[in-house]
Amino acid sequence: MTDIRIEVSGLHKAFGSLEVLRGIGFTTPRGTSTVLLGPSGSGKTTLLRSLNALDIPDSGVVRIDDVSVDFSLLPPGKAGRATARDLRAQSGMVFQSHNLFPHRTVLQNITEGPVVAQKRPPDEVVAEARVLLDQVGLADRADSYPYQLSGGQQQRVGIARALALKPRVVLFDEPTSALDPELVGEVLSVIRDLAAQGWTMVVVTHEIRFAEQVADQVLFLDGGVIVERGTPERVIGDPQEERTRRFLRRVLEHG
């Protein structure tokens, strides 16, 4: 058992003639948070979706804990889909637009995966789900439907849903960008708690202040490559690359 939870190397992905990822490699130690920064269209979402095989890279290797997939060797058809599913099972994902199941209650949204896909005992799962709901501050909304919640509450349910899978890592794709400004704080504070509890996380965000607080490692992505990497003090506090500086200036001005 290694202390490296995520290991990515040589990741390439093109959509048609557009090369979106052009040789990405990085590692994430267990219990740490990695923040992906980068301008729009730089490939952050694609990279994140490659980690759980929602997008299938053309080549490169992704290892999460003890599941490793070499995408250039991925067999076509059923076998390939099974491999992708194994890798996907290693992570939980929080979407920008939460993607909660509208026809399920808050509690059902959380228990659906563990009970139906992981086939764990419902009683146990429900008990855990209630603990998670308490943790994200929604203990009293278990029986609400998603449409009855505010955006921030919905996103916190999305986080609880991801955690209920007991994943090795949690992936966040701009979890606060779709929210009204006054709701951003409650979601970020939940994620901050998770970092403190030792979850291994990869977070795409434009919240620079938040990144400085929670990140153990910052990756700055541009044009499908990692342009700069290091601690937040290094990458955000003292960027070496002109592209990083320009990006940070723009985000800090508008943010």
Binding site: R81, R88, S91, G92, M93, F95, P102, H103, Q148, A162
Partner: protein
């Protein structure tokens, strides 16, 4: 999704409680299946009191069966479908005043004659333009299009309007939509006494020396034909045929010069109210035993097929989606009646013979599949991609995501258009009447042929359909409310 399963279960339950009709079974000889109209009094009709099939031809063929040792199974079908049914092996003989002519003699096994009659020309009362068969040139007559009388009319230069049975023809004549009818003397006399109609009258003979009516069998069934002929001669010799004939016609029509038929005593007239009262129950039985099970089963199977076709249609495999597209296009681009005929009369020619109820279920469920597939497809596509992806990230495979996440949401979009499909289907099952199914509409046709109460009986049948449709619409409302509970506060 659980609601959908519950619905399907309910339908299956309905089917167990109301199984499809007995004539849906196909049987081997020694049972002889007899094709007859059941709407051609006094030869083949339903007794208004008992609803039993009876008539001169029925009693004759029953007497023949008693002599020949057959067990009979009657299959009631429209005249124009009778010979195709014989060809397709759905019946073994026709007992329905089949006139002997050269074409039929060449193609079928025809029995000895059991009825001698003559054709007459019928006109609207007092219409002097029609005096004899010669006057039919350039005029329009109403006939069963494949009957011998239609041939006689055409040969006389008339244009033939196709109808099902004499009662319908008489209605068209009375309404002035056609100029004349050529038909059997006896059938016309029966109509005139039964209805007491003064609107039409016999203008004169159809000009033939007389016609002979026989049983028709497949040419290859020589043994069965020999048995029939033997029995007919025996019945003629022992006076049985004469007895049956005199009971119905007060004359012996089983020989050439047995006297003029006299039907003046008639079968008696009944009030509209009486007709309705005695028909309401058979129609209800037709509704509950055939129309509803046929609708429910076809809809359930059709929906499952529609889902498969819709999934094929949106699958990334070109061949699969191409096939699905072709299927949808063919189903939507051809008449339902034609699809029904292909399954019922066409497929037996390549060895695929289903009993009537099964054939109807096959045709109707394929039709539902063709229409519902597009509804299901667009409903699935209306569910945001993110739902599929979220389902994938919680560990669901494609089938699981579809069943637990996507379809329940798609259902909300699909229910209103699918309800329309269901209502259409319920009404379209009336087409089952042309493939030997005694469903609601067929029951009303049977009663109308015997009583001529078209308006009352068809309106009454309509009432049954309407009530079921209203009930289904109410169920749809409730289902929609249920499915909307997670989007409307």
């Amino acid at each position: 999704m659980r609601q959908v399963f519950r619905g399907v279960l309910l339908l299956l339950l309905l089917l167990i409680v109301f199984p499809p009709p007995a004539n849906a079974r196909d049987q081997q000889p020694p049972v002889v299946r007899v094709g007859t109209e059941g709407t051609y009094p006094p030869f083949s009709f339903h007794d208004p009191g008992t609803q039993e099939l009876t008539g001169y031809d029925i009693e004759v063929v029953e007497a023949i069966a008693a002599k020949a040792g057959w067990r009979l199974e009657f299959v009631e079908t429209q005249w124009d479908a009778i010979f195709p049914a014989l060809d397709a092996g759905r019946i073994d003989l026709i007992a329905n005043q089949v006139s002997r002519n050269d074409e039929r003699q060449a193609k079928y096994g025809l029995s000895s004659t059991y009825t001698h009659s003559r054709g007459v020309v019928v006109r609207r009362t007092g219409d002097d333009r029609v005096k004899s068969i010669a006057d039919l040139k350039g005029k329009t007559t109403a006939q069963s299009s494949t009957s011998n009388w239609a041939k006689v009319a055409r040969d006389a230069g008339a244009r033939v309007e196709a109808v099902e049975g004499f009662a319908q023809a008489a209605a068209l004549l009375t309404q002035g939509r056609v100029d004349a009818i050529v038909n059997d003397n006896i059938a016309v006399l029966d109509y005139l006494t039964t209805t007491g109609s003064k609107d039409v009258e016999i203008a004169g003979d159809a000009g033939q020396a007389g016609s002979e009516q026989v049983l028709a069998l497949r040419k290859t069934d020589t043994a069965l034909l020999a048995q029939a002929n033997q029995a007919i001669e025996a019945l003629r010799a022992d006076g049985t045929l004469r007895g049956i004939s005199e009971k119905y016609f007060r004359a012996d029509v089983s020989v050439r010069d047995g006297g003029a038929a006299d039907l003046s005593q008639g079968r008696g007239q009944r009030s509209t109210w009486d007709v309705l009262r005695s028909t309401a129950w058979p129609m209800f039985v037709g509704l509950v035993k055939v129309t509803i099970p046929l609708t429910a089963l076809s809809f359930a199977i059709g929906l499952v097929l529609a889902l498969l076709v819709a999934l094929a249609r949106i699958s990334p495999f070109r061949v699969l989606s191409g096939l699905a597209r072709a299927f949808i296009s063919v189903i939507r681009g051809t008449p339902l009646l034609l699809q029904l005929f292909i399954v019922f009369y066409g497929l037996p020619q390549i060895g695929l013979k289903f009993p009537p109820f099964t054939a109807a279920v096959v045709a109707f469920s394929l039709n539902v599949a063709g229409y519902a597939a597009e509804v299901v497809r667009s409903a699935i596509l209306s569910v945001p991609r993110g739902q599929f992806e979220a389902a994938a990230t919680i560990g669901f495979g494609y089938a699981q995501a579809l069943r637990r996440i996507v379809l329940p949401q798609a259902a909300r979009t699909a229910v209103p258009p699918l309800s329309n499909t269901l209502l259409s289907l319920l009404k379209d099952t009336s087409l089952g009447s042309v493939v030997l199914l005694t469903e609601l509409f067929r029951e009303s046709q049977l009663a109308a042929a015997e009583s001529n109460e078209f308006l009352a009986l068809y309106s009454f049948a309509g009432l049954y359909y309407w009530v079921i449709c209203v009930a289904l619409s109410a169920a749809q409302k409730r289902l929609e409310t249920r499915l909307n509970r997670y989007v409307i506060a």
